[in-house]
């Protein structure tokens, strides 16, 4: 077991720091090329070393939770596309899983397998975008990082084309609804998926070759070390948690969709640093390719929506009750704490609390940044893979 540095107190008073030191307060953001959206980190610098970091999220707060209380269950799905705009597919699935549990709807097997395939494809697309932007942070927009980003976007485009063929949209799909899916698989889609996977898989080797150079290693190794106990306490999930050596993946540990039909091999790394998070994500992309290959032949014939037609859901009187449903999106556990409206509220949920994995990842910043250099801020931030749309909602 490696030795971890003592935990930083994120609330320590900056006045108590060495009075001799000439501290500089530097506001990184809200407009900054590397904050992955609009967020502000207030950094207290001693030279170029960070003494204290105070993140200020909320610049993209759109009041989605309030909106959900005014909309019907069917109307909420497209809003969820816009949280994590890098992985809209899994976002839709997360909210619909909660609805199905609250409303007690059965999802037919075909829809479940299709959702699993879509989730895994979305995971590849999301991690590809992450890899591109992460190397962009390390390598610069005018440099090696930009080349890498172009390559990853080339492959991501293929997956977006697949989604477009299925749903007609490249990004905000609105293809899930409580009880099933809206769009059935077009003819010949499976063959195209297979071809895309065959094209993408060898490219992972190329990415690894591009990243396996000394500069990448010295920039990521030992940067932003997140011990497993702190990761759990902070509620880290997904690749960030697995890169801290915790063997936890909801796809295997609490299967939903059709994950019980396949054997998910969970990628875990003990490194706890930015390099480990990179390794875990690349391994996950390979695993996703394998899962999609396994699942494609399993796609059974049958309906893709449950017995209740979609239209009647608008008038559906939701049962009162409270459920929490979590789902493994590319960024981690996207949970929904849902309080049903009951009779008096019609078709809208009474309260819909979203648990975004990115917000928890951002909460780790005050612990990870102190002691590092200014240049490491972008490495740590990039390796946590936050999506501001999801952090702020």
């Amino acid at each position: 077991m490696t030795e971890f540095p003592p935990r930083v107190d994120p609330h320590f008073d900056i006045e108590e720091y060495d009075p001799e030191a000439d501290l500089m307060a530097l506001n990184m953001g809200p407009q900054h090329p590397s904050t992955h959206g609009v967020m502000r980190i207030k950094l207290f610098l001693d030279g170029e070393t960070i003494v204290k970091a105070v993140p200020y999220p909320g610049y993209l707060h759109r009041g989605v939770e309030k909106l959900c209380e005014k909309l019907t269950y069917v109307q909420i799905t497209p809003i969820f596309d816009k949280h994590d705009y890098v992985a809209p597919m899994t976002n839709e699935q997360a909210i619909n899983l909660a609805f199905e549990k609250l409303l007690g709807l059965e999802v037919p097997l075909r829809a479940r397998v299709l959702r699993t395939i879509l989730a895994e494809l979305q995971r590849i697309a999301s991690h590809l975008l992450w890899l591109g932007t992460f190397t962009l942070d390390i390598g610069g927009t005018i440099g090696g990082g930009a080349s890498m980003m172009m390559y990853t976007f080339r492959e991501r485009e293929m997956i977006l084309d697949l989604f477009e063929a299925l749903t007609g949209c490249r990004f905000h799909y609105n293809t899930h609804c409580p009880g099933g899916n809206r769009h059935d698989v077009p003819e010949g889609w499976e063959t195209v998926v297979k071809a895309v996977l065959d094209a993408i898989e060898p490219r992972f080797d190329e990415y690894e070759a591009l990243c396996d150079n000394d500069i990448f290693l010295v920039r990521t190794e030992g940067i932003g070390v997140l011990p497993p106990d702190l990761a759990l306490e902070l509620g880290q999930t997904g690749p960030v948690l697995r890169a801290s050596g915790v063997d936890h993946d909801l796809r295997r540990d609490a299967p939903y969709h059709a994950y019980d039909l396949v054997d998910v091999r969970v990628a875990v790394d003990d490194g706890c640093d930015s390099l480990a998070r990179y390794k875990v994500r690349v391994a996950e992309m390979r695993e996703s390719v394998r899962l999609v290959r396994l699942l494609l032949p399993m796609l059974p014939q049958g309906p893709i929506v449950g017995s209740k037609p979609i239209k009647s859901l608008i008038q559906f009187k939701a049962a009162a009750g409270q459920v929490y449903v979590g789902m493994e999106t590319p960024r981690g556990e996207l949970g929904t704490y849902l309080i049903g409206g009951g009779d008096q509220r019609g078709a809208a949920p009474y309260r819909c609390k979203i648990r975004p994995p990115s917000l928890h990842a951002m909460a780790a910043l005050p612990y990870l940044l102190p002691g590092h250099f200014l240049s490491d801020v972008v490495t740590v931030l990039g390796s946590l893979d936050p999506i501001m749309g999801e952090v702020d909602r």
């Binding site: 390390i138 005018i142 090696g144 500069i215 240049s375």
Partner: protein
């Protein structure tokens, strides 16, 4: 020839070459990186997008010239003037062509001012380069530009040492500080970095280190810490708009060209090469172009170092190694191997 006429005859084409080359370099870089990244780059303006630099320059001149309220106005406006001036001045001592004397000796020509202390002049100007950047970073009164300026000073001063030490290797071989003499020496003894003589090993390592150090001096990836747009947004250029920003960019491209030319002269024979001496200019430009492409190839494929790692590399590896190279070259010369 009257020295003023001489300077004009050589200097005007040189200036044209440098300015045109810098403009062409922006076009070339964008096309080159486009080819590397499975995209096109500029194609619309002019044939194959060749007029894109003109369009860019026109656009930059039309942009609003903003001076931040808190900035030191005089220094802020003055700072962009110096980098291109310094770079062009340092190009004045670089020989671009060669002639053969009546007695068969190769003589480097095509140099605006063939100073006896040519290499010293280049190094002195490279050292001065730190000041306008630091002044720009300071005068803009922005924390990011100030950090960038401080990084620039640290990096510029540190990398000057291995650069000067490596430049000493050909100086010791040739026994002269004049770049023409260094070329003349290479005409007799073979290129400093590429020949069959034992000194070429020392020369090759020195060439590599010199090239790395001049990458750092020119703020190119993997050493572009002062620019570091992922954390410092754009370095000292953050607050500059319009043509002032353009001048900084121009200086960067000029710097890259001059650094390539200097490496070619010091280590790769400059205007020397097979064939008649008339081809000297072609050889010189060809070698410069190869090194120039190499710089951009590196730029578009590598990631960036962190500032402390950059200093580590300089003080722990480059400086000791270049000191060893200087001693080795002195021993070689004393032993009669070079």
């Amino acid at each position: 020839m009257n020295p003023i006429v001489h300077a004009l005859v050589i200097g005007v084409p040189l200036l044209t070459f440098l300015m045109g080359g810098a403009a062409l370099a922006t076009w070339f870089e964008r096309r080159f990186s486009g080819k590397m990244q499975t995209r096109w780059g500029p194609t619309v303006v002019g044939p194959a997008g060749l007029l894109q630099p003109v369009a860019d320059a026109l656009k930059m001149m039309q942009k609003e010239d903003i001076v931040p309220r808190a900035a030191d106005r005089t220094l802020f406006n003055l700072a962009p003037l110096f980098p291109p001036f310094l770079v062009i001045a340092s190009a004045a001592v670089i020989p671009f062509a060669a002639t053969i004397d009546a007695d068969g000796a190769v003589k480097a020509t095509g140099v605006v001012a063939d100073l006896d202390i040519g290499i010293l002049w280049v190094m002195a100007l490279a050292g001065l380069m730190v000041f306008p950047i630091w002044v720009a970073g300071w005068a803009a009164n922005n924390k990011y530009t100030m950090l960038s300026g401080m990084r620039m000073v640290a990096q510029g001063i540190s990398y000057e040492i291995p650069m000067v030490l490596c430049a000493l290797v050909p100086v010791i071989f040739a026994g002269s500080l004049s770049l023409s003499d260094i070329v003349a020496y290479q005409a007799v003894h073979g290129w400093n970095a590429l020949s069959l003589s034992p000194s070429a090993i020392v020369g090759a390592v020195a060439a590599l280190l010199f090239f790395l150090a001049s990458l750092a001096e020119a703020n190119r990836i993997p050493f572009d810490i002062p620019e570091a747009e992922s954390e410092l947004i754009g370095g000292v250029m953050v607050e500059y708009t319009g043509i002032k920003f353009g001048i900084f960019m121009l200086a960067e491209y000029l710097h890259t060209i001059v650094a390539s030319a200097l490496t070619a002269v010091l280590f790769f024979g400059g205007p020397l090469g097979p064939g008649p001496a008339v081809l000297g200019l072609g050889w010189m430009l060809g070698k410069t172009l190869v090194l120039f492409v190499l710089i951009y190839w590196i730029r578009w494929s590598l990631y960036r170092f962190r500032s402390d790692q950059l200093m580590d590399l300089c003080w722990r590896i480059l400086v000791p190694l270049s000191l060893v190279l200087v001693m080795l070259s002195a021993l070689l010369v004393a032993g009669g191997f070079a």
